[in-house]
Symmetry: D2
Subunit: 343 residues, 4 copies
C-alpha cells in the first residue's frame, strides 16, 4: 500500500515499549499495515499537523490537551497499553467526539488468576514451608505433615470484584466444584448468576468463605474498605488472597489478623513497592508473599499487541472495538489504581 | 435391630484405625447397622466359628488362609482400606466364590490432583523461591521477577496413567484449556477420547509436553520405566511432576536431568521414605519437594469410611459394590506399589 | 420516597406493553422506585417541560426529534425493548451527549438457541415425519425407521454470526462434543477462540459442516448473502437452520436446494410474515417449519423488564449499563432487521 | 501370524450380524488378528473340540450348556452384542471360572440421550403440531403460537435410572443449567453427587420436576412401578419422557394422565412392538411417538464392533475388559428387559 494511504498511528506506549507489547511478527504486521510515528510521551503537541491531522490511532496514553485533540480530526481511538487511566486528557471531549479510549488490562487476567489459584493451593497445603523444611531435613512425612491441610475442591469461595480478573479466576476454579459467592456492586446480579456464581453482599462473602480472593480495582469509593472488622468477621483459618491493589485493604489490619492466627493470607501487592527491607510482612508466619509478579508475564505483554491489532482492524472497517476494554464516561474519573512504574 | 440379625463385620483395618477412616457420625451409623468385631490383623484365624461363620464383610486386609476362608461361608466382600493389595490371601479362591475384594484408594485422587496442580503452578511461577527471597529482602519486582515464568493455560500437558488420579487431575485442569495427551497402556483409546484427552504413546507424551504428571501405579512391568533417555527426550524447561510412586522412575537420572538444567521437577515420593538427611535432592535447585503428603489428608481418610458404608449398603441389598474399586483377577498379582507404613 | 424525588421514566414501549415485559412484581418495583409517565409513541413531543425536563429514562423507542431531545437535559438512557433500532431519532446527538441507547434482544438468545438445537435434532432424527407416520399407522420400527438418522454428538457444526444468539447456541451445544466453526466478520478471532470455537471463513463453514446455524443479524451489507452457490457448496445431506431473519438468504434458492435433495433445512423466518397460504415451503419435504416462534416466549419478554430494571439501577448510581446491549455509533445505521409487528 | 497362533473367536451375534456391528475396516482388523468361526446360534455344541478347545472369545449370546462350557478351557469372555442378558447359559459357572460376560448396550446411550433431549424440546415448544399446522396453513405466528411454550434452560429435571443412558442424558443437558434430580436405588448417593446431580427419592423426582426422563432398565423388581399415582403426583403440565422399556410403566395409566391434560408425554417404547393399528396412543393429543428408534442407529451398531475389538485387545494382554459393561453375579438374574427382535 502506498505510504500515504496507510492509516497513521502515533506510538507513545510509555512505560511499555513496542518491543515489549508486540512479538516480532506482530510488529511487522503493524508496520506493514500502518504508518508508525513513534513519539515521546510529552511531545505529541509538538508533532506537525501533517501527522496529527492524519492520525487515526494513538497507542499509549500521552498527555493530550483539548487543543492538541482539536488538531486530530481523524482520531478514532486511544489504545492505552498501560491500562490504568490517568487524568491527563479531556475524556469528555473524546467521548463527545466518539473517540474510543480502550485499555488492555485484560491480558493480566489469566496470569493473575493462575497465581491466585496457586496461592490458594499453597496456603491450603503449606507447600512453601514444607519445601523449606525438607531442604533443612526437618520435613514431616505423610499425614503427620498435613495437620492444617485442606482441599479447595468443594470449598466455599468468595470473590470480591468480578471484572476480567474475577471471571478468569472463576474459570480456573471450574474443576473444583466450589460454592462461589461474588460481591461486585458494579455488576448486575443476573450476570453473576449467568456465570454460575452466587451474587452476595460483602458481609456474606467475608463470613461464609474458606478462601477469599480480592480482585477489585481501586476506585474513589473503595479505598481501604477491607479493614480489621472485615478480617475479624472471616471464618477462623480462612484464607485471604489479595491480587489487585494494596489500597483496597488496611494492610496493617491484615497483617494483624494473620499474626493473631485468625486467618492466613497471600498477597501480590503492597502499600509501597518496592517494600522497605524491614517491613514486618517479610517475616510474617501464615503469609505468602509475591512481589507484584502475578500479572507481569512476557506472554501477557505480547498479548497486548495482539489485542491492539485486532481492535484497530475492526475500527479500520468502521466497526467498534471489541477486544480491549472501553473507558466509560461514568467511571473514568473513579478509577484510582496507580499506574505501574515497573513493567 | 436385634443383635443377631445385624450383619457381622470383622474390622482389622491396620495400618488405618476405625477412628481414622470413620467420622464419629459414620462410626455410629456403622455400629447401628452392623455387629462389629474388632480384631488384630494376625488373629482372624483364631476367631470362633460363631463369628467367622456369620461374617459378611471384612474391613481391612488381614492375612487369610484358604482354611480360614472356608470357615466364612457368608463372606461377601473384603474392603481393603489400605488400598495396596498385598499377596496375603488366596485371591483366586475369593474370585471363584464371588467374594469381592475392593480398595478405597480413590479417596486420594482429589487431594493428589490438587497437589499436582499446585506443584505445576509453583514450578511455572517460581513461588517457593520467590517467597524465600522476599523473606530475605532480595525479591525481584514485577516482570523482573518473572524471567522464567509461564502459564499453564493453553499449555501442552501429558499425563502418564489415567486411573482415578489421572481423571481427577484432568478435572482440576478443566479450566485451563490445556492440550492434554495421556499414555495409559491399560486403557482403551476410546475411553481417553470420551474424557477429552488425546490417547498417546509414551514417546509422544514425553516429547510434546510442557508439563508431565506421573500418576501411574507401580506394576510388575513398569518399574523404573522412566529413566535418563526419557528425561533427555523432554522439551527443554519442561516440568516433570511425580505423584504416584518413586519406583516408576530412575530417581538418580531424574535428579541429574534437573541438575543439568534441562528440566524442572517436583515429587511427592522418594526411593526411601523417610529420606536420608544427606540425600542430594534436598538441595537440588529446580526441584520442588513434598514428603509424601499429597494424599494423606484427614478428609480423604474419612471418605474411606463413607465409601465402605455405601458399598456395604449395596451389597446388603444383593447389589454389586460400585463406590470402591474392585481388585481384578488379571491384575491383582501385577500391582506392586508398596503399602504405606505411615498413614 | 416523595413523588418529586423519584427519577422520572417515560414509558412508550410499543409494540410491547408494560404488562408484557414486566412481571407483576417487577412492575411494582418499577413503580415504587420511579415516577412513571406512560405515553403514546407519537406523543412524546407534546409532553410538557415539567415532564421532559425531568425524564431520566425512556423505555421504548418513540420517534424523537433533536428539538425534543434538547428539552430533556436529564436523559441518561433510551431502553429500546423492541430491540431492532429504527432510524427515528438523531443517534449522533444521543451519542455526543453520552445518552445510552440500549436494546434487550438478548432475552431471545436462550429460547432461540433451544429452538435451533431442537430443529437440528428433529432434522437429524426425522421426528416430525415419524410421529405423523405413527399417527397414521405407517411407522417403521427400530433401525428400519432410521435410514437417514444421524447424531449431533461429534458432528461438524457451523455457526454464522456470534452475537448473543451464537453464544447461546454454543452453550446448549456444549454437551455434544461438536467441532464448531464460526464465521463472524465483526468479531475478532481471539474472542471466538476464547469461546472454544474455530474462527473460519464463510466458505469453510459452508463446506465443512454437517449442521449450519444462521443467527446473523441483517445488516446493510449482508442481505441475501447466502444464495444458490452457498447451498450448492454444502455437504450433501447437511442441515441448514435459519434462525435470524429471512433476508440474509435467497429463500427461493434455499427451497430449491432442499427440493433437489442436496440439503435439508429448518427455518423460523420467512420473506413474508405471515406467509401466503399457497407458499411452496408449506409442502416442501425435508424442510421443518416454525412460524417465527423461536424467541417470542412469555418468559423472554418478562426478562426484558428485569434487564431494564437492572440497568436503570446501575445508571441511577452513575454507573454504565451492563445488562442490555448498547447501540454503537459505528453500527447503528447498518442494522437492518425489520422490527416485528407481532410480539 | 500363522493361522494356528491367532486367537480363536466364535461368532454367533444373532440377531445382529457381523456386517451390522463391524465397519469394513474393523471387520478386516478382526479377521487379521483372530481366527473367526461363524456359527449358528444353536450350533455351538456341535462344533468340534479342535474349535471349542481353542476358543478364547464368543461374540454373541448363543445358548450354552455346562457341558459345552466344560469343553472350552481357553474361554475368556462372552461379548454379548444384543446387550440384554438372556437366561440361556450357566452364569454361575462362567463367573466361578472368571470368564467375563460383557454387553455393548452403552453404544445406545448417546443416540437415546439425543432423542430424549429432542423429545423434551419438542414437547416444550410444540414443534410437531406447529409444523403440521404450518403445512395446513393454520399456523399461529410469534407469541400467539407459544401459549404453552417453555424453556428447558433452568428447568427442574428428573432422571430415573443413572446407568449409561442417564449419564449420557446428563451430558447433553450440560448446557442448560438445569436443576437435576436423580432416582437410582442401585447407585450410591456420592456417585450421583460427583456427577453434579442431586440424589433423590422417587417421590421427589416425580413431584419436583418439569421434565422427567425414564431410562431405568427393567428388573424383576421394578415392572410397572410407575402407575396412576405416580403420574397424578407430577406437576401439572410436566413432561414424562419414556426411553427405556414400556414395562416400567402402567402404559394405560400414562395415556390416561396425558388424555386428562395433567401431563404431556413422549415415548420410544410400547407394551407391544409393533403396536396394533387401532392403539389409542396413535391419536393421543399431548403425546409424542417414536417407534423404538431412539437407539438403533447404524453408527451405534458399528460402535459395538469397536468396543468388542478394544476389550479383546485388553484381554489378549491379560487385562480386564473396560469398554463393555460386565454382567454381575448379583444382578444378572434380575435384568428383565426383553431382547429386541428387530435391530
Amino acid at each position: 500500500m502506498p505510504e500515504t494511504q496507510r492509516p497513521l498511528v502515533i506510538c507513545a506506549p510509555e512505560p511499555r515499549t513496542l518491543d515489549l507489547i508486540f512479538t516480532p511478527a506482530a510488529l511487522d504486521a503493524l508496520k506493514a499495515k500502518y504508518r508508525i510515528i513513534e513519539a515521546e510521551e510529552g511531545a505529541i503537541a509538538s508533532l506537525g499537523d501533517e501527522i496529527l491531522g492524519q492520525a487515526r490511532y494513538i497507542i499509549g496514553q500521552p498527555p493530550l490537551s483539548a487543543e492538541t485533540l482539536a488538531r486530530m480530526p481523524q482520531l478514532r481511538c486511544i489504545l492505552n497499553v498501560e491500562s490504568n487511566l490517568i487524568n491527563n486528557m479531556p475524556y469528555e471531549v473524546l467521548f463527545a467526539r466518539g473517540i474510543h479510549v480502550v485499555t488492555t488490562g485484560q491480558v493480566f487476567a489469566e496470569p493473575v488468576a493462575e497465581m491466585g489459584l496457586a496461592m490458594a493451593l499453597n496456603i491450603a497445603r503449606g507447600i512453601v514451608d514444607a519445601d523449606v523444611d525438607f531442604r533443612k531435613g526437618r520435613e514431616l512425612w505423610g499425614g503427620e505433615g498435613n495437620a492444617g491441610a485442606r482441599l479447595l475442591s468443594g470449598a466455599d469461595v468468595g470473590i470480591i470484584g468480578f471484572g476480567d480478573l474475577g471471571k478468569a479466576l472463576n474459570r480456573v476454579l471450574s474443576g473444583f466444584r466450589t460454592h462461589t459467592r461474588v460481591y461486585d456492586p458494579w455488576m448486575p446480579a443476573s450476570i453473576l448468576i449467568d456465570n454460575g456464581v452466587k451474587p452476595s453482599s460483602l458481609e456474606e462473602v467475608l463470613t461464609q468463605s474458606d478462601f477469599i480472593f480480592v480482585v477489585a480495582a481501586v476506585t474513589s469509593e473503595n479505598q481501604h474498605f477491607l479493614g480489621a472488622d472485615a478480617f475479624a468477621s472471616m471464618r477462623p483459618g480462612a484464607a485471604f488472597i489479595l491480587l489487585s491493589r494494596a489500597n483496597v485493604v488496611d494492610f496493617d489490619a491484615l497483617m494483624a489478623a494473620v499474626a493473631s492466627g485468625h486467618i492466613v493470607a497471600a498477597s501480590d501487592v503492597y502499600p509501597d513497592e518496592p517494600l522497605p527491607l524491614d517491613h514486618p510482612v517479610r517475616s510474617l508466619k501464615g503469609f505468602l508473599r509475591s512481589a507484584h509478579r502475578a500479572g507481569a508475564l512476557d506472554s501477557a505483554f505480547k498479548k497486548m499487541g495482539d489485542m491492539v491489532l485486532e481492535d484497530m482492524d475492526l475500527m479500520d472497517r468502521n466497526l467498534p472495538p471489541m477486544r480491549c476494554k472501553r473507558a466509560e464516561r461514568e467511571t473514568v474519573s473513579r478509577m484510582r489504581s496507580k499506574p505501574v512504574s515497573v513493567n
